[in-house]
């Protein structure tokens, strides 16, 4: 019988973190930005069926980079958690903070359990408030820590470059069209600094729109509405109002 080599705990954790980071880096990046009327999710996603963004509850949205089956699993868990909370207590008792805590626990347990491989995912949980001050964005890296973010956040392969780019240009009170354009610009920057064009069909865009009259604030932006927002000049902000009622 062979004796296993001794691996120090530090080394073991570093290896696992390295493994998870590499897995996440293979996926495409996505960004989450605050704008005047809510929070917008933008990512490059060639698939129309496998979503990176999803509705969790009335005011809470979910974004994930990394391995699809792993984050889909977490997403369904989140929807269950939120729906069960809302049914047992009240819709107002479902919060992004609570959900982020549950995700952090799950990811942390999986990350440090020797029996399982770490999840190769990085999540963003966002909740839109009644005012921009009430917006909450949490980033959850693979190891189960929680980072409270403001303004803009990027996750995925090229996250560092993108978030530096966003931090310099993002400001409070942007319109949806401005925020969307900034997000697309940031996503089209490659690691080596060059730029490429991302066509509208390859973009997945969703918003948590606090001006929506329904209780459920999450809405996907697709097709004509998306191309209009991308093409519209910055001066064309007056059309923002009717954009929000167009869909569904």
């Amino acid at each position: 019988m062979s004796t296993p080599f001794y691996v120090s705990p530090q080394q073991a954790m570093a290896d696992r973190a390295e493994y998870a980071r590499k897995g996440i880096a293979r996926g495409r990046s996505l960004v989450v930005l605050q704008f005047a009327d809510g929070i917008v999710f933008v990512g490059e996603n060639p698939s129309r069926a496998l979503h990176k963004f999803s509705e969790i509850y009335d005011r809470i949205g979910f974004a994930a980079a990394g391995k699809y089956n792993e984050y889909e699993n977490l997403r369904i868990g989140g929807v269950r958690y939120a729906d069960l909370r809302g049914y047992t207590y009240d819709r107002a008792d479902v919060t992004a903070r609570g959900l982020a805590n549950v995700y952090a626990q799950t990811l942390g347990t999986i990350f440090s359990s020797a029996a399982e491989k770490p999840y190769e995912v990085e999540l963003v949980v966002a909740e839109v408030g009644d005012t921009p001050d009430g917006d909450q964005i949490y980033r959850l890296p693979h190891d189960g820590s929680i980072v409270d973010e403001h303004g803009s956040v990027a996750v995925g392969g090229n996250a560092e470059t993108i978030s530096t780019y966003l931090d310099q240009r993002h400001r409070d009170g942007m319109t949806l069209a401005e925020a969307l354009k900034l997000a697309v610009q940031s996503l089209s920057r490659d690691t080596n600094g060059s730029e490429r064009e991302i066509p509208a069909e390859r973009l997945e865009v969703a918003v948590l729109d606090r001006t929506r009259p329904q209780a459920r604030k999450f809405k996907r932006i697709v097709g004509r509405q998306l191309s209009r927002l991308l093409e519209g000049e910055a001066a064309d902000t007056s059309s923002d109002g009717d954009d929000s009622d167009d869909e569904k």
Binding site: A49, H51, S54, E55, I56, I76, V79, R80, D83, L84, G86, Y87, T88, R216, K248
Partner: protein, 258 residues
Amino acid sequence: MDFLSDHQPEILPGNRQLPPTQGVIEAPHGTTIVAVTFPGGVVLAGDRRATMGNVIAQRDIEKVFPADEYSAVGIAGTAGLAVEMVKLFQLELEHFEKVEGAQLSLEGKANRLSTMIRSNLGMAMQGLAVVPLFAGFDVDRGKGRIFSYDVTGGRSQELGYAATGSGSVFARGAMKKLFHDQLTESEATTLVVQALYDAADDDSATGGPDVARRIYPIVTVITEDGFRRLTDDESSEIARSILERRLQQPDGPRAALL
């Protein structure tokens, strides 16, 4: 809901043990719900009274709820149980939509409600029945549809109009004489309020429009654009114009004899 029955079965309505009881349990009951289809959608409406025996338990109860964007449920029967059933039904539809990324078909929603009513059969046999009326806009077929139920969960699709609850007999009679298949949306909303008025006229458990307290029937419309509940102003307008006419003609509009 499958997940709930594994995870936390005690919060599902069907899983509660009831002690054996003698006679009927007194609890507030909701009364009349009516629905009418028109080209382009469906109207679902309910009166505002809840009764407990011969006592009016509540004057302004709300018995019509949106189930999701394209459907609504009106409840007759034991109010507490029915409201809980609707809450769970709403949750299921929303949960399905979020997890699967697509809405259930209208048929699927109607079947699901059927199962939920069936799980209440034990309670129903002790006098705590819940008999809802389900109406929705079928996005695939592009028209409004109505489903009615019995206490055992038996489901049947109703063509044109339907009613449930203690005043349903009178409401159905009224609708039978007023309904035709080319109603406009505003005619359909007027028709349901007329039917509820007739139900209240002959059934003591159904509440008519209460002008003094400004309590009017709840009227909801479901079309291609989704669910919409008429505002208080809109429904009071309909109720008042009907009341106005009934001052001259207490029995309401007359149908042709032949």
